[in-house]
């Protein structure tokens, strides 16, 4: 177990270094200038001054090692556009993204697993077709479209839910107010994952319900509910855990569109604006954060997998 963990951590460290090196290189090789250097009134001398102040006139290898030496000491630098330490910005944004991710994950797993089970139990029934088509719809529609449509219907047309933001400006910021602001972005973020969870739960449960031990359980007279939940679903959930684990990074890093549409001040929007303004320290900060989350999620999923599935053993 310890050996396995240590090996996995080594792998993770290598991947982490590679991802960040690649991003570092790509950001600097991409055409274009950081926004602070594109001002209309700046002369070339001014731009050289900026390059010097930001350390961009050093050889790229030197910049690279300087950057690592700072990162390893916990210094992610200062954002060029926000004029605030990158770490501080990331830490204020991360909780917002985590809330959204947690809600989306909760919603997609509760609804997804329930719907998947219903689908598998009533296989090829109208209910099964309905669930699978709704799931497919969620997977197929682009989230910016779904988001705008939901806003048009629920905010503009029916005026039931707020269209964007985390709470009502000038309101009390009560918990109910925050929850109503969570509904639409959570739905949009959950939509894509929901479909995958439905499909995995359904197919995995269908497989398992054909297993010998299910027939045995039924034969010994267990109530169908027990057969389904204790013997069937428990085993069917194993692949679903993998899917959920793999979706976590998507929730953290892939919420760019959802966060932009719903003006949600999270990490995804930060990544987007940092890329647009060529805010190098911020781009690297977000990359570090997201690579840590992805690698961590993969590691946790693998460990969870070996724990829930007794057939898988550590070497």
């Amino acid at each position: 177990m310890i050996v396995y963990l240590r090996r996995r951590l080594w792998h993770a460290a290598i991947v982490f270094a590679l991802v960040n090196t690649l991003t570092f290189a790509l950001v600097r090789l991409a055409p274009g200038l950081p926004q602070i250097m594109t001002g209309d009134t700046l002369t070339n001398a001014d731009r050289m001054q900026f390059r010097h102040n930001l350390g961009l006139d050093k050889p790229i290898l030197e910049q690279y090692f300087l950057w690592w030496s700072h990162v390893l000491r916990g210094d992610l630098g200062t954002s060029w556009t926000e004029h605030t330490p990158v770490l501080h910005v990331l830490l204020t944004r991360l909780p917002n993204t985590l809330i959204l991710a947690a809600c989306a994950m909760l919603i997609s797993s509760i609804i997804g697993i329930t719907a998947g089970v219903l689908s598998a139990v009533y296989l090829y029934s109208p209910l099964d077709y309905a669930v699978t088509s709704v799931g497919l719809f969620g997977l197929a529609v682009p989230s910016f479209w779904l988001g705008l449509m939901l806003i048009l219907l629920f905010s503009v047309h029916w005026q039931l839910l707020p269209s964007a933001g985390m709470y009502t400006l000038g309101g009390s910021a009560a918990i109910t107010d925050r929850l109503t602001h969570l509904i639409l972005p959570t739905l949009v973020l959950a939509a894509g994952t929901l479909a995958q969870i439905i499909r995995f739960t359904r197919s995995s449960l269908v497989d398992i319900l054909g297993e010998d031990y299910i027939r045995t359980a039924r034969a010994k007279g267990l109530p169908e509910r027990i057969v389904l939940l204790r013997h069937g679903l428990r085993n069917a959930l194993i692949p679903v855990i993998t899917v959920l684990g793999l979706q976590l990074p998507r929730f953290i890093g892939g919420s760019i569109i959802v966060e932009s549409i719903f003006a949600w001040p999270g990490v995804g929007r930060l990544a987007y604006s940092a890329a647009l303004t060529r805010d190098y320290p911020m781009i690297m900060g977000v990359t570090i954060l997201i690579s840590v989350v992805v690698l961590g999620a993969n590691l946790v999923t693998d460990i969870a997998y070996t724990v829930v599935d007794p057939r898988i053993r550590f070497e």
Binding site: P31, D46, G171
Partner: protein, 559 residues
Amino acid sequence: MLGTTFSRRRFLATTGLIAAGTLLSNCSSSSTSTPSSAGSGQATGSTSAAAGSSPAAVKSSKNTITFPIIANPGTLNPIKESSTAEGQVASVIHCSLVRLDPTNFDPKPYLAESWEASADAKSWTFKLRSRVKFHDGTDCTADDVKFTMDKMLDPKVNSARGKQFLLVDSTEVVDPSTVTFHLKSPWAAFPTILAGRWDVVPKHILESVDVASDTSFDKKPIGIGPYTLSEWVASDHLLLKANKNFFLGPPKIDTMAFKVLPDANIQIAQLKTGELDAIPFFPDASIPAVSGQTGLTVDSGAASIWYAMHLNLNRPDLFGDQKVRQALSYAIDRQALIDNLLGGHGQIATGPIIPQITWAYDPNVMQYPHDPAKAKALLTSAGWTQGSDGVWTKGGVKLDFTLSAFQGNSTVDQCATLVQQNWADIGVKTKIEVLEFSTFITQVRDNRGPDGYYSFVSYMTPEPEPDGNYAYFASNNAERGSNFTAYKNPEVDQLLETGRAETDQAKRKDAYFKFQEIVAVDLPRIFLFYPQEHLARHTNLMGLPSSNALRFTENAYFT
């Protein structure tokens, strides 16, 4: 060590706790980023009498005006300001010496009550209003004005705005309410430029800090403007309170909010739901989305913007001949551009000076009505012939080139498509290349030699003064600066210098009329149209001009 029994219940309980923990920590973290003295425990509560306890209270009491901004401002220190969002919020917190009349862009008194130039236009003396106070109660005097200008020109601060004032040699405090700027060379447009990109900052706060690296003033600005910052939740919103001591009288609306809303569609949705009261700089393409809606209206007014096709004149084989440029100009159906891109809200451009600057605008220059036949005739007379593929050629050179545009502005890339079609109709072939903005600007600024870019479409936003065009057409900007087409014409240089140095408006007018006549014939850029600036608002919000609305917020009121 993890044991063999994996308990789902324990797993759920643990994750549930983590989720609850993040929710709670988030509530508290949003209030820690509040820089103000509001000191309220919850993020938005209790900032002013206007903030009620429910959303409905805000809507009905109408003591709060809410605007969108597209990004979180990095700084609200006007010396360091560099983005649109920063400028928008800063313009209600800070004031300049003068501000521009939103209809004709004439400079009008603001912090300064009067000003005059010396006979040679090299020194400008401003008389300040008396008893103007900063938000912290300190007097704003000539010392602050001098301090601000000195800091903007300080190479260590490296202020982007300061680059506009490189002609300023020194600033002299004559007495506490009089200040004189001494310029290196005469500059008639000085007050107008001051109105656009200059705001006074308090000396007593900033003199002891290193402005370049210190960020405390960036996040807690102190100005003399109609509103003071009271709360700032980064990337979410800013709340401002009316400055009861504002020198033009207290603003009529108690609270102002800026919400960070990066998506234009959401801004419109929030305008419709009443979560926003007005959207300044409303895009032309969005007007149909709100026109005809009850309770909403769009005002349109002057904008100091012109759109143009840019041809790299360092590629003389293609664009060196004036007749080729004129042919390309005749080929464009400008009214169709205005109808399709601006919904009719615009005017055909005849040159680089906008018609609202009535004293300097020359309407009687050479014009280019849509005339494909004439375009072809001009190309023929210039020695070009149409090949078997219909594309014009001359000496092995084909009128087949790249047309660049940039992302993020639908008017620009749609304009490229329409012009491409217009040009294709007369046998000029182009390939459109839509670049990301920072790539685009690097390309047209640093890559304009004989092997550089071919052509691009963009808009220019000169300061609303004929002299605002100096950098776009003067040959000393041809290699590096904003003279993107690398146009060099000594006569134009001379006229621009005259217009810059002369204080007699009649003489300036003569110089700029001549300038407009030359560029209309020579076409260093192919001028397309003048768009308008729009303000989308609720009909119960009154008092704001359609142009530069955020500079006049003290006049806004709800009916």
